[in-house]
Symmetry: C2
């Protein structure tokens, strides 16, 4: 059996997902490309991967510029969304709608943030929805993908419309993991989302606001103690209020997970630097909504988010 998969968004993460699925030999991959469609159409992708080695001129089976165009390659068993999560810029439900067959297509969100599932579930209540957390490290520049931290995706059921949720998870994970990449089926995907958010909500925000990489931020004044750890503690407190208990060492693990020497530029910093919209709402805004719901004070996240929203406004207005 071959899975028919539509990968929406071929940034670094989406490309590596597409690659893992296609190279399994057990999936047909149609990929939606936007900014780099022409480059990939002409020359394919050049991937340097810690998992897969160096690959020249790689192409998904089919590449398309729009979901309408993708329909020719459907019906899809899976729509895997690896698009940047920008509810303040576009609607992911609208983008994927033409490719979603009610009661058939399983939707998989491999995106950052917290509580990103509800709007997709509301738009497609008759489809099984899986939620995925990627721990990959990868960057895309034109047609060049640098994949420098192993590809591991955690996937779990968020909404089961036909009793096949668990099976869909296992099926996808089996195909995804049949090569060098890994996909692990988990019970509590929100736990993984909150755990990842500990790093993302703190370092992404501070790095974007200061335009400093995560290593430099650790050196800058007393930022680890005055900004990063306080923001992380707030994320942990909100998670706990939402019923998700993170391990006691989660903050120090997060801090040490990205050694200074890596000088990592988080996605929000790169986006801000390139004048592109940042995932402010998925990463910070939604966490603050949860904080308000449970009456958890998040003064650091509040101020960081307000500053980032102003920065986002300037980016969108090209001020």
């Amino acid at each position: 059996m071959t899975l028919n998969v539509f990968v929406v968004g071929c940034g670094a993460v989406g490309t590596m997902c597409a690659y893992a699925l296609q190279e399994s030999g057990k999936a047909t991959v149609t990929a939606l490309l936007r900014s780099n469609y022409n480059l990939v159409h002409e020359s394919g992708l050049h991937i340097r991967s810690i998992d897969h080695g160096e690959i020249h001129n790689w192409r998904p089976h089919n590449i398309v510029k729009s979901t309408e165009e993708a329909k020719a390659f459907g019906p899809f068993d899976y729509v895997l969304v690896a698009l940047k999560n920008l509810p303040d810029v576009y609607s992911i439900a609208d983008i994927i709608a033409p490719a979603v067959v009610p009661k058939h297509t399983t939707i998989v969100l491999v995106q950052n943030g917290i509580d990103i599932e509800a709007p997709i579930n509301a738009a497609f209540p008759d489809n099984t929805l899986l939620s995925g957390v990627s721990t990959i490290g990868a960057e895309l520049d034109g047609r060049e993908v640098l994949h420098n931290d192993p590809d591991l995706v955690y996937v779990g059921v968020w909404h089961d419309s036909n009793g096949r949720g668990k099976t869909a998870c296992r099926e996808l994970a089996a195909v995804y993991s049949s090569g060098a990449a890994s996909c692990e089926v988990i019970e509590d995907v929100q736990w993984y989302r909150w755990r990842k958010l500990v790093w993302n909500a703190s370092f992404n925000s501070v790095c974007a606001l200061l335009n400093l990489d995560s290593g430099t931020v650790q050196d800058a004044a007393n930022s680890l103690d005055t900004l990063i750890r306080p923001a992380m503690r707030e994320v942990v407190a909100v998670a706990a209020a939402a019923g998700c208990t993170l391990p006691p060492d989660v903050i120090e693990s997060a801090v040490s997970s990205m050694p200074k020497e890596m000088r990592c530029r988080p996605s929000m910093q790169v986006d801000a630097l390139r004048g592109r919209p940042m995932e402010v709402e998925a990463v910070l805004g939604n966490a603050i909504v949860v904080a308000r719901k449970y009456n958890v004070a998040v003064p650091v996240l509040d101020t960081l988010c307000s500053l980032l929203r102003a920065k986002q406004w300037a980016i969108l207005k090209k001020v």
Copy 2:
């Protein structure tokens, strides 16, 4: 009687102070110049002033590159400090020390911030110390001064060493105000400092962090309500705890004091943009010290200050 005045720091504010004093005909002015010494030495200053009109090739009576050099023009009745307040970069006490005659020289601080007087008083306990708050609007670029908001300095006694504090205030104010500029003697200089800090701590910080002018910040997302006014409320609360009651309309007055259309770039934003150190400690750091003393929560100021300290670190390290 002619006052012998040493003006330390001839940025826009210092230059206009020097001009007002010198053109009174009642003061001899020696000015310490740094970055623009050569330009002013060769060509003088070109001043376009809302108070004084257009002035070509103006020079202080004496210009010097160092306080040691200034001593030849002493002893000084007044040392007027209009230098940027950067305790994390240099010591103002060290800079002015050679020009201060114990028990004779009156020191006048015409600088931004709160609680900036104590270190100067500690260094010169036998000298009268006046504290001044300037409400001028002026910019310096090379030898060009654009003075576009009237020159009004409030001055009051901070430390009286010889019973002449009040007299020194009146004497200075009389000379300063004998032309088109104004200097007003006040009782409670801290009240004026806190009132000015309401605008400075909020707009300066946010504009510097986002590199947006004060008008644009008012348009950016919901910044007035999520950043500016919350920061202002914290300043008002700290001031109140310190015994300084600001008027009920101080926040709305501050917001409307600088109309959007002026697109004002506050000094911290200009400094950050030029890679020069910002007055983080005088404007925010010291206010936070007072907040801690009186146990006032200042979460917005805390986060803004921590971000600015990290930015300052990057500026000083030229990262």
